[in-house]
């Protein structure tokens, strides 16, 4: 018996949780707070601990310590956490709906669509205002994923497989167009585009955080709502239909939510790899939980991965700044390989 039940307000709020879920939530919160403290204290600009405390508790305008802490480090940390949480959630939703543990936002063309849109904007319209860049990334991500959903739409039970195959194919096609644009574009512009493609939260400001928080708050009710259809979808389309679920509608809603989350994250930070793939898998390895708990914990892990990647990226070789996307790939690739090997071993045994 690994689960326990809870009931509040005369049963109006009730549920069942894995017994380790609250423990993990507390552990992740402590880890996140530790990372916050480390991120606030570390950087190219040295701040003593008393100075840090003073800047935190009684910020004085015009003081460099205050500026570095409140305008540079904190918004960057918060943006990294939100981007990571969104990418992790997006991956968890996709893995749930496709019942494929290798699904991530790049599968539905989000990263590729956003990348192509931004690269095209930089190379074809270099004088366009930078204000359009995140909007363009968001539009590109949505368009690419809609195209993949539209092509893969069908009534057959093999829809998940079809969705994955169409996703991989179209994402590869979009990537090849992006590569062509980079190859034939002016070298300076191509370098600028490549810098965006590396994925980083180095441009994060409070305004960016505001956009991410608002987006997250708007999408949160949907996240709560999709937990129960996701629980049913785990049994496959036939059983889900037999249980009374409108499979097409549920699948469309979950994928759209996943795309919206990833598009928002990518529009701010560029494509940051492995987070959508790794965060849900790590949580799944820790506790095999129900979708609601799984999503909740995945958001924590996603936030931890990107915040850690950003901290390492901006301090490890300072003043050279390594993009969070590069660091997350360096950290994520071996972990993912280990997870895969374990899975293979388990299935063989």
């Amino acid at each position: 018996m690994n689960d326990f039940s809870f009931r509040f307000f005369d049963g109006r709020i009730s549920g069942r949780l894995h017994r380790y879920a609250p423990v993990l939530a507390v552990l992740f919160t402590i880890l996140l707070l530790t990372l916050l403290a480390t991120s606030a204290a570390m950087g190219s600009f040295e701040i003593s601990l008393p100075g840090l405390w003073a800047a935190l508790t009684s910020p004085a305008s015009g003081q460099t310590e205050t500026t570095v802490l409140w305008e540079l480090r904190l918004p960057r940390f918060i943006a990294a956490c939100l981007v990571g949480a969104m990418l992790g959630l997006s991956g968890a939703l996709l893995q749930g709906v496709t019942r494929n543990p290798l699904a991530d936002p790049s599968l539905v063309g989000v990263s590729q669509g956003a990348s192509l849109a931004v690269v095209a904007l930089i190379i074809l319209f270099p004088t366009t205002s930078l204000f359009w860049r995140p909007l363009c990334a968001f539009g590109g991500a949505i368009l690419a994923s809609l195209l993949i959903q539209w092509i893969s739409a069908g009534r057959s039970s093999a829809q998940s497989l079809r969705f994955i195959l169409v996703g991989i194919g179209l994402a590869a096609l979009i990537s090849s167009v992006t590569t062509a644009a980079l190859t034939y574009g002016q070298i300076n512009l191509a370098m600028e585009a490549l810098s965006w493609l590396a994925g980083s939260v180095h441009t994060a400001s409070w305004k960016v955080c505001q956009v991410l928080i608002i987006g997250f708050l708007v999408l949160s009710p949907l996240l709560v709502w999709v937990a129960s259809p996701l629980a049913v979808l785990r049994f496959g389309p036939e059983i889900s239909s037999a249980l009374g679920l409108n499979v097409r509608r549920a699948r469309f809603t979950v994928i759209t939510l996943s795309v919206a989350l990833a598009a928002l994250a990518v529009s701010v930070a560029g494509p940051i790899g492995f987070v959508g793939l790794l965060a849900p898998q790590l949580v799944h390895r820790l506790i095999p939980s129900r979708p609601g708990t799984h999503l909740f914990l995945t958001a924590f892990v996603g936030a931890l991965i990107v915040a850690l990647a950003d901290l390492v990226g901006r301090t490890a070789a300072a003043p050279i700044q390594l993009p969070a996307g590069l660091v997350s790939s360096i950290i994520g690739a071996p972990i993912f390989a280990i997870l895969l090997l374990r899975r293979v071993r388990t299935s063989l045994s």
Partner: protein, 331 residues
């Protein structure tokens, strides 16, 4: 005695007042930058941070501006693998090691905290990096300069204006104009009509044959001397055009100019090999290379926004086109 004590007390108070008085605030003015921001900047900045090597740091070094930091790039085989300031390294051999200029990260992702630690009073940002404008501007007054706007001299003047170095700019501009005047005078004396000499600026990069209408000092000096361009280039709206190798004939003229990289694996021999790979027999087909009238110019020097670059390219053109006998191209 009383007088002496009073004098000592007055002197001590006076010295203390002078010593403890806050540093006089810098005189400021409003500067409208390349993206239309109205920025309050010091009239005479004392701690400038440059976020582009060959476009900002090189001209700032040339003008002798008080620059405290710059971005740099790590290039294989250059400066023993340590970061270099593009343009300033090749033109003036200015490095982070032999100057007071601090390294604050790479061109595409500078370290804002490292910039803040230097307490700058002006940050120059290229327009392509302006997405981070809000973060730079909380550190110091930040000015965006459009680095692909032409003419280059106007761009240089904007940098000089923002950094309070207009006097130095005028001095350097006058020197270049004097040398240009001397060169034009020599052309006239030699009985050469510059308009009759057609010079194409073209390069082969990978699978592309590219011709240029504007390419930093390489084309600026050609225009200053009054040489002509092939028709296909003259009609261009933009800065450059990719041509099919089959259109090679359209860039034929008296001289052909290309730039080579001073860096490893892309020097003059690699440049010729690129041409050979894309268009075998090109040097027999085109008039200029057939008659040894293909001029090669070092790219990093030519690309740096500076009067020194203009003067060096001017000297190359004078010795390769004006002061020697060459075989004229006939249509």
């Amino acid at each position: 005695m009383k007088f002496l004590c009073l004098f000592a007390l007055t002197a001590a108070v006076g010295i203390s007042v002078v010593a403890l008085a806050p540093a006089q605030a810098q005189e400021t003015r409003i500067f409208v930058d390349g993206l239309g921001h109205e920025v309050e900047i010091p009239v005479k900045p004392k701690r400038i941070v440059s976020l582009r090597g060959e476009q900002f740091t090189a001209p700032l070094v040339e003008m002798g501006a008080p620059i405290v930091a710059s971005v740099g790039d790590v290039v294989e085989g250059v400066n023993d693998g340590r970061p270099v300031i593009r343009g300033a390294y090749e033109l003036f051999h200015t490095t982070f090691e032999n100057s007071d200029i601090a390294f604050v990260g790479t061109t595409h992702q500078p370290d804002v905290e490292a910039i803040a630690a230097l307490k700058p009073d002006l940050i120059l940002v290229p327009d392509f990096a302006a997405e981070n404008y809000s973060r730079y501007s909380v550190v110091a007054p930040t000015v965006v300069i459009k680095i692909w706007s032409n003419p280059a001299r106007e761009r240089y003047r904007r940098i000089a204006d923002a950094t309070g170095m207009l006097d130095a700019f005028e001095r350097l501009a006058n020197l270049y104009d004097f040398r240009l005047g001397e060169a034009r005078h020599l052309i006239e004396e030699e009985g050469i009509d510059a308009q009759d000499i057609v010079v194409a600026v073209a390069e082969v990069n990978g699978k592309r044959l590219r011709v240029f209408k504007h390419y930093d000092a390489m084309t600026a000096v050609l225009s200053d001397l009054g040489f002509s361009r092939p028709e296909v280039v003259d009609g261009l709206n933009g800065e450059r055009l990719d041509l099919s190798p089959e259109q090679l004939q359209s860039i034929d003229g008296d001289f052909l100019v290309s730039s080579y990289s001073e860096r490893r694996f892309s020097g003059p021999s690699e440049l010729r090999a690129n041409w050979d790979n894309l268009i075998p027999g090109w040097d027999a087909f085109l008039h200029a290379p057939r008659h040894n009238q293909h001029i090669l110019i070092p790219r990093e020097i030519m690309r740096a926004l500076s009067f020194r670059a203009l003067e060096e390219v001017l000297a190359i053109y004078m010795s390769n086109i004006v002061t020697r006998k060459f075989v004229p191209f006939e249509d």
